[in-house]
């Protein structure tokens, strides 16, 4: 018998092993749900799959009685727009400030401590300030996301720039580069794939801040809906919404990874073999 650490799953069994916890969790839910519903058919805590399906159908296909909107899609569009703005602005800030601070010692001396300080402020603590300053509209939610993830991305980008071998920077100068052309041709292309990585790692935090902001003040959005129907113990809406958010987050992560692989073919090869 070989040691446990040396037993490796085949391709097929790896897939099965990966699915197993999902199936078990679903099974456990179904059993618990059935047991509760057998006791009390109007139980709301663990609704059956059929109830959730009906609720999802109501949200996604049937226009809302009051507003005439298809709520699921309105919520999704609103949340994704906020998330997109937040991530986009954070990425732009991360690139511009991160590269600037990473490559120019003068900017680093001036800004690095300030950014480090900013990143230590808990974003949720300033949410009231954002609501007061920017009102309850879209801006405050986007700013919360930016405030939450931009400092992390900036510092990550700065570190990536500083990790570039000094030889590369020196050589670019001997090839006649100015500061601007050095950044455009040598630094920027090499940190872009790292920016995608940083964005992927920030997705979780971005969703967290989005849902928190929506829970407190919004008129539509995935987070808003979940917290709204909580008043009616509507688990049959909340659970499908959580699953839908998970699917969206997974799709964004997968999309960023695919983009990185396609746009930067040199990236994977370079990081595994180095340039010896």
């Amino acid at each position: 018998m070989r040691r446990l650490i040396n037993l490796r799953p085949e391709r097929g069994s790896r897939l099965l092993l990966g699915l197993l916890p999902f199936v078990l969790a679903l099974l456990a839910y179904l059993i618990a749900s059935a047991a509760r519903l057998a006791d009390n058919p109007s139980d709301k805590l663990l609704p059956s799959l059929a109830t959730m399906g009906t609720a999802l159908y109501q949200m996604a296909v049937v226009p809302d009685a009051r507003s005439g909107n298809l709520l699921l899609w309105v919520d999704t569009a609103a949340s994704l727009a906020r998330l997109g703005w937040g991530l986009g602005i954070s990425a732009a800030l991360g690139l511009i400030v991160g590269i600037g601070v990473g490559i120019t010692p003068l900017l680093r001396a001036g800004l690095a401590p300030f950014i480090a300080g900013l990143s230590l402020i808990p974003p949720m603590a300033i949410l009231p300030i954002l609501f007061i300053v920017f009102g309850l509209g879209e801006v405050s939610k986007v700013v919360l996301i930016v405030f939450g993830i931009a400092p992390v991305i900036i510092r990550d980008m700065q570190q990536r720039v500083e990790e570039l071998p000094g030889e590369q920077i020196i050589r670019a100068q001997t090839l006649g580069a100015s500061t601007v052309s050095l950044v455009l041709r040598v630094v920027l292309p090499q940190v872009l794939p790292r920016l995608l990585d940083a964005l992927r790692l920030s997705l979780g935090a971005a969703w967290l801040f989005l849902i928190a902001a929506e829970a407190i003040a919004a008129t539509e959005g995935l987070g808003y809906r979940i917290f709204l129907v909580r008043r009616y113990l509507a688990m049959d809406v909340i659970l499908p919404y959580v699953a839908w958010i998970t699917v969206l987050a997974f799709a964004m992560d997968w999309g960023l990874r695919a983009l990185s692989r396609r746009a930067f073919p040199w990236f994977g090869a370079g990081s595994t073999r180095g340039s010896t």
Binding site: P165, E167, Q168, I170, R171, A172, Q173, T174, L175, G176, A177, S178, V180, S181, L182, L184, R185, V186, P189, Q190, F264, P265, W266, F267, A269, G270, T272, R273, G274, S275, T276
Partner: protein
């Protein structure tokens, strides 16, 4: 044309004197090989020539004018590693040198200028024997091929001086011999002035027109950092061999202490 004059050059880091009283005249087209035990200031000297470090005292003159205090297009350099850009193909690496030179802000050429530069880059790559892999990325190349690429990238815009910091130190012996032939041929064809650091004494004799030996002539056992290294032998090489050096000196150079690569894992 371009003559290097180095007048009473000193370099110290705090109390630590690395180089002292260094005087040298190098005419254009010479091939200087720099040898010496580890820690004798060869790399520091190269950094001074490059403009990466400023001298503590003394002057570095190119044609009678002080050298700019930062790296620039008149001086090319090839390091032992990390010399090429991993995100660009072989052709684009050499093209980059032309683009950075000709387009001050964007570092990018378009249209006819770009096509012309591409042809020039491809011709340069043919000279170093890389015509077959124009579209490959550096990570797909062997160490020797990467150094060929680095040399092509440095020389495509014809700098006045080429600085080489142990360029073949990380290569296998067979490939190193090929690279020695290559650098010598290119040096003859272009007439560029070369300064090359090497740990391999026979390489220094084989390639150079002039061998510069770095050593510490004065030594105080109580204060080992008080005296710096300087050029103790300046040997014109014509039909000379390694045996012409004082034996103890040759021994010290050959007994190479750990190179940077071995000491930094």
């Amino acid at each position: 044309m371009s003559t290097f004059s180095i007048r009473n050059l000193w370099k110290r880091y705090g109390e630590h004197v690395v180089l002292e009283r260094l005087n040298l005249e190098v005419r254009s087209g010479e091939f200087c090989t720099l040898v010496g035990a580890s820690g004798c200031g060869k790399t520091t000297f190269l950094k001074l020539l490059l403009g990466q470090e400023a001298p503590s005292r003394g002057q570095l003159l190119l044609d009678g004018r002080p050298l700019p205090a930062e790296p620039g297009p008149e001086r090319g350099i090839v390091f032992q590693r990390y010399s090429v850009y991993p995100h660009l193909t072989v052709l684009d690496n050499v093209l980059l040198a032309l683009e950075l030179h000709r387009s001050r802000w964007l570092g990018r050429l378009f249209g006819r200028a770009r096509r012309q530069a591409r042809e020039q880059a491809a011709a340069m790559l043919e000279q170093v024997g890389l015509s077959d892999c124009l579209q490959r990325y550096p990570a797909e190349l062997s160490g020797g091929m990467q150094q060929r690429l680095a040399i092509a990238q440095s020389l495509v815009r014809a700098p006045q001086v080429l600085l080489l910091d142990e360029p073949f130190g990380a290569l296998d012996p067979g490939i190193r011999a090929d690279m020695q032939l290559l650098i010598q041929r290119i040096w003859r064809e272009t007439g560029v002035t070369v300064f090359m650091i090497t740990h391999d004494l026979s390489e220094g004799f084989k390639l150079g027109t002039r061998l510069l030996v770095f050593d510490r002539p004065r030594h105080d056992p109580q204060a080992p950092q008080a005296f710096g290294a300087t050029i103790t032998y300046d040997i014109p090489l014509r039909n000379r061999r390694a045996g012409d050096l004082p034996p103890d000196l040759a021994e010290r150079i050959a007994a190479r202490e750990p190179t940077r690569e071995e000491s930094t894992p």
